[in-house]
């Protein structure tokens, strides 16, 4: 078990955002957290790398409570990709991708070869892109760099918060497809947040449906498609009505 939630509650200024969240994620799984805006998906994600601390209950990563982990060590073992990408605008692509290895004080030669390897992996030619700055790239290219940066120190766990949400539909599908290939190749454990049910079916080995701070359904895509839960039905119906 890579991640385990045990009766986790989280409230902000007495407003409960998550209540009694319990689930676990096995090695190599991709859990997609699906839900409407404001249902607590992102909060759940930020609890895993201890950007937030649970109000009650505990989250274990690799069998150790996130509150026992040194937060810095924990986060360096977890790749983190967000919708806004958050590349450092004053650093080249090369240095953006190499930021965690540099924090981990790898020798510069090793960082360089790792960066080249990662840029190839996400489909960007290092000779063309390594020396550029983020503002010189397209949205899709920037998100590729975001994924490469998250993978840099070879973390066993990846957290992805609507990474493809801001991209145009064609680029989005392209990146989803490539990410699926990448995931099969690397075998990382992934927690992926989205409100797009198509994305959930494309990428998830498990789909967790969240509603108002609770996990209301957790199933494989095959079983999820047959779920009778009203919220699941609501999401599934959007999928059918998409193509008249």
């Amino acid at each position: 078990m890579v991640v385990e939630f045990r009766h986790v509650y989280y409230s902000l200024e007495r407003r409960p955002l998550l209540s009694d969240l319990s689930f676990s994620i096995d090695q190599g799984e991709t859990l997609v957290l699906l839900g409407r805006s404001g249902c607590g998906k992102t909060t759940t994600l930020r609890l895993i790398n201890h950007l937030l601390t649970p109000t009650a209950g505990e989250i274990q990563v690799e069998g150790v409570s996130t509150q026992t982990w040194n937060p810095i060590h924990l986060r360096r073992r977890i790749g983190y990709v967000i919708q806004e990408v958050g590349l450092f605008p004053h650093l080249t692509i090369e240095r953006n991708v190499g930021v965690v290895p540099a924090l981990e004080k790898w020798p510069s030669q090793r960082i360089k070869s790792r960066v080249d390897e990662l840029l190839h992996l996400v489909g960007l030619d290092p000779a063309q892109f390594a020396r550029r700055y983020p503002h010189e790239l397209s949205g899709g290219q920037r998100q590729r760099v975001g994924v490469a940066r998250a993978l840099a120190a070879d973390p066993p766990l990846l957290l992805m918060d609507e990474p493809f949400g801001a991209l145009d539909p064609i680029t989005r599908v392209e990146l989803q497809r490539e990410f699926k290939r990448l995931q099969q190749q690397l075998g990382k454990t992934v927690v992926f947040v989205t409100h797009d049910i198509g994305e959930a079916f494309t990428l998830g080995s498990q789909i967790g449906l969240m509603q108002a701070g609770q996990l209301v359904e957790l199933a494989t895509p095959h079983d999820f498609a047959r779920s009778q839960h009203p919220e699941a039905q609501a999401f599934l119906s959007t999928r059918k009505s998409e193509y008249p």
């Binding site: 950007l51 810095i72 806004e84």
Partner: protein, 208 residues
Amino acid sequence: MDFLTRYANEILQSTGEHLTLVLVATAIAILIGLPLGILITRKPQLRTPILGFANVMQTIPSLALFGLLLPVPIIGGIGARTAIVALILYSLLPIIRNTYVGIMSVDPAIREAGRGLGMTDRQLLLQVELPLALGVILAGVRVATVISIGLATIAAAVGAGGLGTFIFRGVAVVDNQLILAGAVPAAILALVADFILGWVERRLTVKK
């Protein structure tokens, strides 16, 4: 022309004194203001008192501030020290405020990414926030420097020398040439400082 040949040496010497006052005061103001600006991004409860203090300093009329500092032990007295202290007090606000604003206006997504990747607060500050805020911080230093160059002319009132010496003397004996001998070099200094620091600021501002 006659005037210039007679006073050239004295003008140069006063310009040197003037520049020294401003440079020392600005350097110290940066050493105090930058850490204070960083501090209030970390401890929001300190923001109001610190910015409030710096704000009040700016509202005190400059001649009064120089006068008020004179009798204060250790930092006061006749001479350059009093003048430098007064200039520091005036320079603090733009430096503290711009440091604070510069850091706070770093895109939250970039800060989130940095923290999520496992940067310590110190690494986030030194590797991300300060480099990205540098342009705004330098704009504050530029404002502080230009204000100081103007204000330092009043330093002559407390016997700190500088180009104000000519101005006070010119006012006393009603001699416009003497006043201009102080005012013109001070204006030129301010313009040159503004130009140079503006250039540095543009060089170091990160493109988004």
